[in-house]
């Protein structure tokens, strides 16, 4: 399987890159290429021009901005995985990163590319939605920011304006103490595409009462979704098995779950419920440990 022919340009600046995209309707941005290149090999994508953003200054790096941590779009997933800042400030992302592809693809794959490609099974978009983060984009006509919960619109599609380049991914930071996270996934083999992935982050007070909770589901849906009702319902509880089960059941029952050759919707729904409960339980246990 070989990609169809295309032209290739490696701009040195963001301005040059956005002009290339504006002038070529069938152009696509390539960052790490770990999602796009397989699609091109299978000819599911046939861009006529690839704009390689790997050599643009200032598009890579991780910075702590207080209420959020921002990633330049070209930041490699492996770099985020090794970052002490990510481990201390974004524990949920740190828990999810080992599930993203495998080491060789994380060495090339980028944070921005994973979000911009919006693969329904991708873990980084799931964490971004669960934490209610956002992305920043730039095009010839301006710049903007889009909240993650509004960004994803379907499998492999986002609300980014045509011709825009995703420049930054912003993950909100929860200030401690008492924060815990959980991340679970079901797939055919280690590091394969998730049939279902679940992410949870909670904060407990000294009495073990949940003061903040966020839970999200990916893999099973057209795009990752946060569960706002369950998240809200769990605040104020002690996150007992009973609390978790009753908060999750109706919202998971109402999700529009995908069926494909690998797993039926019924199976995915059942697994989503079980893994969401497990992620919340792990998060609660970790948060309890953080207090002692």
């Amino acid at each position: 399987m070989k990609a169809a022919a295309f032209d290739y340009i490696r701009p040195k600046s963001l301005g040059e890159a956005t002009h290339l995209l504006a002038a070529n309707e069938d152009a696509r941005v390539i960052a790490g290429g770990q999602t796009l290149v397989p699609m091109m090999a299978m000819r599911l994508a046939r861009p006529t021009l690839l704009v390689d953003i790997a050599h643009i200054d200032g598009l890579s790096g991780i910075a702590d901005c207080g209420s959020f941590v921002t990633f330049g779009a070209m930041t490699r997933q492996a770099q985020a995985e090794k970052s002490a800042l990510v481990r201390t400030r974004l524990p949920l992302l740190a828990a999810a990163l080992p599930w993203v592809g495998h080491t060789p693809t994380r060495n090339r794959g980028t944070i921005g590319g994973s979000v911009a490609n919006a693969d329904p099974a991708a873990e980084i978009p799931l964490v971004l939605v669960t934490l209610e983060g956002s992305i920043c984009w730039t095009s010839v006509s301006g710049q903007g920011e889009i909240a993650a919960v509004e960004l994803f619109s379907g499998p492999m599609s986002t609300e980014m304006p045509a011709g825009a380049i995703l420049t930054e991914v912003r993950f909100p930071v929860w200030e401690g103490p008492g924060i815990g996270v959980g991340f679970h996934e079901a797939s055919a083999r280690r590091s394969d595409f998730a049939y279902v992935a679940t992410a949870a982050q909670v904060q407990l007070d000294r009495m073990g009462r949940c003061v903040r909770c966020s839970i999200g589901i990916g893999g099973a849906l057209a795009f990752p979704q946060r569960l706002p009702r369950a998240s809200k319902a769990l605040e104020g509880t002690h996150l007992t098995a009973q609390d978790i089960a009753s908060a999750l059941s109706s919202e998971i029952a109402a999700l529009e779950i995908m069926t494909d050759g690998h797993a039926s919707a019924a199976y995915r729904r059942r697994v989503a419920g079980a893994l969401a409960a497990r992620a919340l339980t792990d998060a609660r246990n970790q948060a309890q440990g953080a207090h002692v």
């Binding site: 399987m1 070989k2 990609a3 169809a4 022919a5 295309f6 032209d7 290739y8 490696r10 390539i30 290429g33 770990q34 290149v37 397989p38 091109m40 090999a41 299978m42 690839l50 390689d52 790997a54 492996a78 592809g101 495998h102 080491t103 060789p104 693809t105 060495n107 090339r108 083999r189 280690r190 590091s191």
Partner: protein, 162 residues
């Protein structure tokens, strides 16, 4: 498109179409056929090479993207023709290969693992090779090979500092 690749320490000028993967450039243009062609879409790991020292799939990178990076292939893993590196020798000793199709990818992956973690646990070894498919061995002997190589490399390093 004219590019300069750096492969196994040597500058290799090439003229390739942008759609040519690094894998095809290595095999067809440079005749370095140690990187194997499997699935060509990132699933099997047969095409694994090191890019700036880290394992990556050469079928998921167009050759033009790799300009400026140091590419290392299995051909650079032995000291000279007819010789075997420590990891390669360990694969022979434990029968860590049968047909050998997955082997270059396994060895380069193991090389990067053992450089970062001289004493990996079994779990860490299994995790490191989880992106490399082997259709022959059942993986048991591959894990053993990497354990043996780790042990020998630790021994050799201890010898060297003494």
């Amino acid at each position: 498109m004219k590019i300069d690749l750096i492969v196994n320490g040597h500058k290799r000028p090439l003229d390739v179409e942008p759609r040519v993967t690094l894998l095809d450039a290595l095999r067809d243009e440079l005749r370095l056929t140690g990187a194997h062609t499997g699935c060509e879409h990132g699933v099997c790991g047969a095409c694994t090479v090191l890019i700036d020292g880290e394992p990556a799939r050469s079928c998921l990178i167009f050759a033009v993207q790799a300009e400026g990076n140091a590419v290392t292939t299995i051909e650079a893993m032995a000291a000279g023709p007819g010789e075997l590196g420590v990891i390669q020798d360990a694969f022979c000793a434990t029968h860590g290969l049968q047909c050998g199709y997955c082997t270059p990818g396994m060895i380069l992956t193991a090389h990067a693992l053992l450089r970062d973690k001289p004493s990996p646990t079994r779990e860490e070894i299994v995790d490191a090779i989880s992106g490399n498919i082997c259709r022959c061995t059942g993986y048991g002997q591959i894990v053993e090979a990497i354990e043996l190589a780790a042990q020998r490399l630790r021994g050799a390093n201890a010898e060297a500092v003494r």
